[in-house]
Symmetry: C2
């Protein structure tokens, strides 16, 4: 039996000066790192975390994240991330997030998709051994659009090269999931972030990159979005779509209305 109170897990944060970006807000890549941390904490609490999956030789791999943000937490603001499982089947789980500012107002949502793989074969794993995860599914609302198919343009309009260094590598010896987000969002310059904010971002992780890998960050503008693929030769490491909104227009957005 899972109590309702455990179905929605909340982590409280406070944005310190050292964590701020140049606009004195929570940087999108830091938000995504915190989303991953909070997901891990909740899964551990429910007994479906990395430790439990390891017993079956499996591990969770983050497949997709989409964030839909009304405004980012500001310098010294107390904010919170709440998470719950919306859906689950034998191969993946859908976990959603709600971002609240200091006054308790919802200022953003996120959707994530986690797949389980066998840690040796790297092939999709069967999650039926933890079918009790079904009891934790929760119908809390998440009024943001699901992630769509991302189709990078070939050839791209803009290409930057990057070689992954020691500081980019995570505890699994792969490139840190949040670091890809930084590389992608670095395609915009500082004045752009002064005038616009990242109101929606979607990323799909496709292949792992490692220390020393030399990649191409390939971007093109499609309609009002920047579509980016990080390519390791012919292999797409991840694809993403970034949507920027002029600052001061936040109030017109209706994606986070309750």
């Amino acid at each position: 039996m899972t109590l309702l109170s455990e179905k929605i897990y909340t982590h409280a944060f406070r944005l310190t000066a050292a964590q701020c970006n140049a606009q004195r807000e929570l940087a999108p890549a830091m938000l995504i790192q915190q989303i991953i941390e909070v997901a891990t904490e909740h899964a551990d609490l429910l007994g479906v975390g990395f430790k439990r999956l390891q017993e079956d030789g499996n591990l969770w791999v983050l497949s997709r994240i989409a964030i839909d943000i009304h405004r980012y937490p500001r310098l010294l603001e107390r904010y919170s991330l709440s998470t719950w499982i919306e859906n689950y089947n034998r191969h993946f789980s859908e976990r959603n997030f709600e971002l609240r500012g200091e006054d308790g107002e919802v200022i953003g949502y996120a959707r994530t998709i986690w797949v389980a793989i066998n840690m040796h074969t790297r092939r999709p794993a069967d999650l039926s051994g933890i079918s009790y995860i079904a009891e934790t599914v929760c119908d809390h609302p998440c009024p943001m659009a699901r992630q769509g198919k991302i189709r990078p343009q070939d050839p791209p309009q803009i290409v930057h090269n990057y070689t992954f260094m020691v500081s980019d590598i995570d505890f699994n010896r792969h490139v840190n999931s949040a670091r890809y987000v930084e590389l992608i969002l670095n395609q915009f310059d500082l004045p752009t972030y002064d005038d616009f904010y990242l109101s929606r971002f979607e990323i799909e992780y496709k292949h792992e990159a490692h220390f020393g890998d030399e990649v191409e960050v390939c971007s093109s503008f499609q309609d009002e979005t920047l579509v980016t693929a990080i390519q390791l030769d012919e292999t797409p490491v991840c694809v993403a779509r970034s949507f920027m909104t002029p600052r001061g227009k936040e109030k017109e957005s209706d994606t986070t209305q309750q």
Copy 2:
């Protein structure tokens, strides 16, 4: 009057998976970011933080950090950073740190030097307006050597180029202090960190770098240390010295004995 309990301030941490490096430890650059955060918290608590200095048109600037580490906190470990002011005069303050592991054992020390500058002229400021800081000085032991003079070799043995991107910029619109540390420590490769750990590191910040600045990371081996200068044309942005110790040799160090 300042209570003894306020003279030493302690912040407790837990090392999450998302924060670990490839060796499943706290990365040195993340430790330095946390040192800066804890310093800021303590200064605010004592009424000598950025807010108080701002009233006089001044601000704190981190001038030097040296860390002397016996071992780094490990994945999921609860650890703490304690800080106190060792010394203070009209122009700068010396603030020390003690790093403790889960079992309460001291596993490292740090020394920092903060200077106050006028926020408009960028010239050294006079701190005599907050002379009450003297009451908070504390003689808690910090048995690590002070930072020495760092003399980069000219010409250097190794040069890497880097251009500062959006994700490198902090809330003051300068390059993040911890990001320089990453750039410097990225001069070693991943296998080196598997076999060695950074037992001592010293950095002196000399000039601020900004978004778009193209720098050269210039390094040379001098005796058993790597000496690095980050150069913006002829201007040194910072200079640093890194000392690596073979893993498994930690017990022979006596710098952190009590």
